[in-house]
């Protein structure tokens, strides 16, 4: 009897299901609206979810970490010697380059002090390792092994040895999520290194191709030009290389040119990254009037 009633209820409940689905659709629409219109309301939920899920994610990263460590410890003596030799020569090269850089930096500081700019050229950084890519392949988001505990905060820029990789979008106690510049939700203010003209570099969901938006048709730009961060915005300091222009299409009569670029950072293969610690100083701090302090303003 009990079995029969259960079956009966199972079939009778089906018309009711349509109303339930309608209810679900309405609730989901409301949630979606809030997520799109007021992301700041959803942000705490995402943060606590990552915090809650952190032990699982850390645990899942261990097989790969153990594999890496075992792999490294199995390197032969000869291989290690070779690597050591290579690293030593690279270190020497870099230190010679650093000598020039520190001289330029000192000169820059003197010039900036002259205009009483608040710009600080010393960027602190945190060294981090990429643990895994997002479980959603359409998202270009990676997980770092450092989080709030190490001083990482949402918005901090992330770089590899060759260029800008992306930006921290979420951080828990010991992990953080980084959106790569290739994600189609990511946009970054850049400038052409050669001419200092600005535009916006947008991701297209492809790690090898980025699109330069709002680049005027008359813009002086050619293939091979390096795009660097322009420092406009809150977090990215100016002057870090981002991408190399790969394709320029100009159509007469159109306001903007179609320009594509290839990222300089190895978005697919980089394992070790740097998270920049300091926020970029805004150009607002530069007070041009202070150069001429004693001049009277004509009334």
């Amino acid at each position: 009897m009990e079995h029969f009633e259960r079956k009966k209820r199972r079939f009778d409940s089906f018309p009711m299901q349509s109303y339930r689905l309608l209810g679900v659709a309405l609730v989901v629409s409301a949630i979606m609206f809030v997520d799109l219109r007021y992301p700041q309301w959803v942000e705490p939920i995402r943060h606590y979810a990552l915090q809650l899920f952190e032990p699982v994610l850390r645990l899942l990263s261990y097989p790969q970490r153990i594999y890496d460590v075992t792999n490294e410890s199995l390197l032969s003596h000869h291989q290690l010697l070779q690597e050591n030799k290579l690293l030593k020569s690279l270190l020497l090269q870099k230190s010679v380059q650093m000598q020039q850089v520190s001289e330029l930096k000192a000169e820059n500081m003197r010039l900036l002090a002259l205009v009483e700019s608040g710009v600080n050229l010393d960027d602190n950084f945190i060294y981090a390792q990429i643990l895994s890519a997002s479980s959603q392949p359409q998202q270009h988001v990676v997980l770092l092994n450092k989080g709030l505990r190490e001083g990482i905060k949402v918005g901090y820029p992330v770089l590899d040895a060759t260029g800008v990789m992306g930006q921290v979008i979420e951080a828990s106690h010991r992990l953080s999520q980084v959106m790569l510049i290739a994600d189609n939700r990511h946009a970054l203010p850049v400038r052409v290194r050669r001419t200092q003209q600005g535009a916006i570099l947008k991701g297209m969901g492809d790690t090898q191709r980025l699109k330069l938006e709002y680049a005027a048709e008359t813009m002086d730009i050619k293939e091979g030009d390096i795009l660097e961060t322009s420092g406009v915005g809150l977090y990215f300091p100016a002057g870090y290389p981002v991408a190399k222009v790969s394709e320029v299409k100009k159509h007469t009569g159109k306001a903007f040119a179609q320009i594509y670029a290839t990222p300089l950072a190895h978005l697919d293969s980089s394992q070790h990254v740097i998270v920049l610690f300091k926020q970029a100083s805004l150009p607002v701090n530069v007070q041009v009037v202070s150069v001429l302090p004693n001049q009277d303003v004509p009334k």
Binding site: F11, D35, L36, V56, L60
Partner: protein, 162 residues
């Protein structure tokens, strides 16, 4: 009876946990599109074989958890899950009478439906581009290939509990 019912819910929760771990198992970024849609498989199994246990609201809640943990557009997994469970329960009513081909067609339809609803939402709100949608064919194929394994494993544990 109550203990048996609880055992089945326990199996549902444990199997969902296993699916979540499989979905989050770290793989190289270039193999991202070679991961089956584990959530859809879980939903389809429970909607077809135990329709009295999985309703649209529960599917919506599970989808919402998936949305939050994967960082997707909030509500995209929730809506696709609810729709798949609703359609699965309606079409799967006479599952016992279906032959293997009919069962296969039903499962293919439900997997395609789940992906289509989700991708449509992501396309509308610019979470995905058309060039990325094409890559989802491999997700679809691998999900269908994984179905016999999932149904076999879940049928074994659920029959034991039931």
């Amino acid at each position: 009876m109550i203990i048996k019912q609880f055992a089945l819910y326990r199996t549902m929760i444990i199997s969902l946990g296993v699916m979540l771990i499989l979905a989050f198992w770290p793989i190289a970024a270039e193999f991202g599109y070679y991961r089956p849609d584990w959530l859809s498989l879980w939903l389809i199994f429970w909607a077809l074989y135990y329709p009295q246990k999985l309703g649209v609201w529960l599917a919506c809640m599970v989808g919402l958890v998936w949305d939050i943990t994967t960082g997707s557009l909030l509500g995209s997994y929730a809506l696709s899950s609810a729709i798949v469970v609703y359609v699965g329960r309606r079409l799967g009513r006479h599952l016992a009478m279906f032959n293997i081909v009919e069962k296969a067609v039903l499962v293919i339809f439900l997997v395609v439906l789940a992906l289509a609803v989700r991708l449509a939402l992501w396309l509308i709100f610019d979470y995905v581009t058309w060039s990325q949608v094409v890559h989802y064919l491999s997700v679809l194929l691998l999900t269908l290939l994984a179905w016999p394994l999932v149904v076999d494993a879940l049928a074994r544990v659920s029959v034991k509990d039931n």
